[in-house]
């Protein structure tokens, strides 16, 4: 389970978010551009330091301003799929996925399952955008992280490839035993992947708390 309560002032936006997400659950975060969605993920990952608050994963404190704990990003065991550029351009797709995979068999399974086995020896830049993001997902999942953060992972893809990638992600939900936090501006995608939902507005959660699938589906129908 991940719990975070984070505050950070960036320019005119005051990020102030309190959220929790259980193991095997996916939390979809939506919101307008500039609302603070990506910043929230970066704060959770340790790529940016919050002004105050805490982050706990499975009871272990990764950040706590009061206790002056700030675990560096490389020690957090968090997988982060960025909008693009998660894969190293100088490594083959296979090496990108298997080098950091905690479970090599799972890595190989994901390569086959995500239909990228024909790209094993190819460099990421020689693959299409959709294939690259599937490889990035496989890399993130094969690490068996304590938390999986997805920052608009399919936003650079066309609608057809976005749907395919979402379906691939959905198909491995059983394999992912950690909490998943997905940031997207696509409500359909949020609904498809998420179990619970929230909308970020001006750095805070709109309405103050997360909502259920039914309420979210009703709100955006």
């Amino acid at each position: 389970m991940i719990e975070f309560n984070l505050q950070k002032k960036i320019g005119t936006i005051n990020i102030d978010v309190k959220l929790a997400c259980k193991k095997r659950e996916a939390l979809s975060i939506t919101g307008e551009s500039g609302a603070g969605k990506t910043t929230l993920l970066r704060l959770a990952a340790g790529l940016e330091k919050p002004d105050s608050g805490f982050i706990r994963i499975n009871g272990q404190t990764l950040f706590c301003s009061r206790e002056k704990i700030n675990t560096p990003p490389h020690k957090r065991k968090i997988s982060y799929v960025f909008q693009d550029y998660t894969l190293f351009p100088h490594w083959s797709i296979e090496k990108n996925i298997l080098y950091t995979a905690l479970d090599k068999d799972l890595g190989n399974y994901l390569i086959d399952h995500f239909n990228i086995s024909h790209l094993r020896k190819r460099k990421p830049l020689k693959a299409s955008g959709g294939e690259r993001q599937r490889a990035a997902l496989a890399q993130a999942v094969a690490r068996k992280p304590d938390l999986l953060l997805l920052d608009e992972p399919f936003s650079s893809l066309d609608s057809k490839n976005r749907k395919i990638a979402s379906e691939y992600l959905y198909s491995v939900r059983d394999i992912i035993s950690c909490p998943v936090v997905l940031v997207t501006h696509d409500h359909e995608e949020a609904l498809y992947i998420g179990d619970s939902f929230c909308e970020i507005e001006k750095g805070g959660i709109k309405g103050g708390s997360v909502i259920s699938k039914r309420s979210f589906s009703y709100a955006f129908s």
Partner: protein, 218 residues
């Protein structure tokens, strides 16, 4: 007459200085590019200093610093039994110091051009700073590192002021191609000076072409 001995010595000198210096500046360039520390600008300015002072001035200071009365010079003499100045080893050290800016600048440019998201992706994969440096930063900066090596090598081939001050002109030990050209001209051996100069000119053009024509397009 072509002074083959000096030419071979010069290539040997450049061949030793280049890999040692380029490898030595990589961590320094990494720290300057990707971290922030107190006095960073001063360190960067110090690394660039040899660019802003005459080679003879630099050579003079190195001569004093490496002389038998200096601390490094006396320690070296105690350990090896021979003097650091007017020796091949002393020349290697002097050229490593005088070539620091030529080694650092292309590497710094390459590191600063690197997409910062790659570093973040590396951190998120659990790589610490050292692993990120070895596995991500260096392989993605190959053309900058190669430019640095080409620049240092070609500068070593033609270095004169520092070489003359620190090494003098000991045949087979410190008499490099450029010192040989200078002596040939002094002795009015224009034919020998021309042959040596032409070889250095061709080498210079080769490295210039390598840096501007090949490595920049990489």
């Amino acid at each position: 007459m072509l002074d083959l001995k000096s030419l071979i010595l010069t290539v040997k000198l450049a061949g030793i200085v280049t890999p040692f210096l380029v490898i030595a500046v990589l961590p320094a360039a990494y720290l300057i590019s990707f971290t922030r520390f107190k006095g960073q600008k001063i360190v960067e300015a110090a690394l660039n200093l040899p660019l802003f002072i005459p080679p003879t001035v630099l050579g003079f200071f190195l001569l004093i610093m490496m002389g038998p009365d200096s601390f490094p010079g006396s320690v070296y003499e105690k350990i090896t039994g021979s003097r650091l100045i007017f020796s091949f080893e002393g020349l290697v050290l002097a050229l490593m110091i005088s070539n620091i800016p030529f080694a650092v600048q292309p590497v710094l440019t390459a590191f600063r051009k690197l997409d910062k998201r790659l570093i973040e992706a590396s951190q998120m994969l659990g790589f610490n700073r050292f692993k990120t440096f070895i596995l991500v930063v260096v392989p993605n900066s190959v053309s900058g590192i190669a430019s640095s090596a080409a620049l240092v090598f070609s500068h070593c081939l033609g270095e004169f002021g520092v070489v003359l001050m620190v090494g003098g002109s000991v045949p087979g030990e410190t008499k490099t191609a450029s010192v040989s050209i200078f002596e040939s001209v002094e002795m009015l051996d224009y034919s020998g000076a021309f042959k040596m100069s032409f070889i250095l000119l061709a080498a210079g053009f080769f490295f210039s072409f390598l840096i501007t024509g090949v490595l920049k397009n990489d």
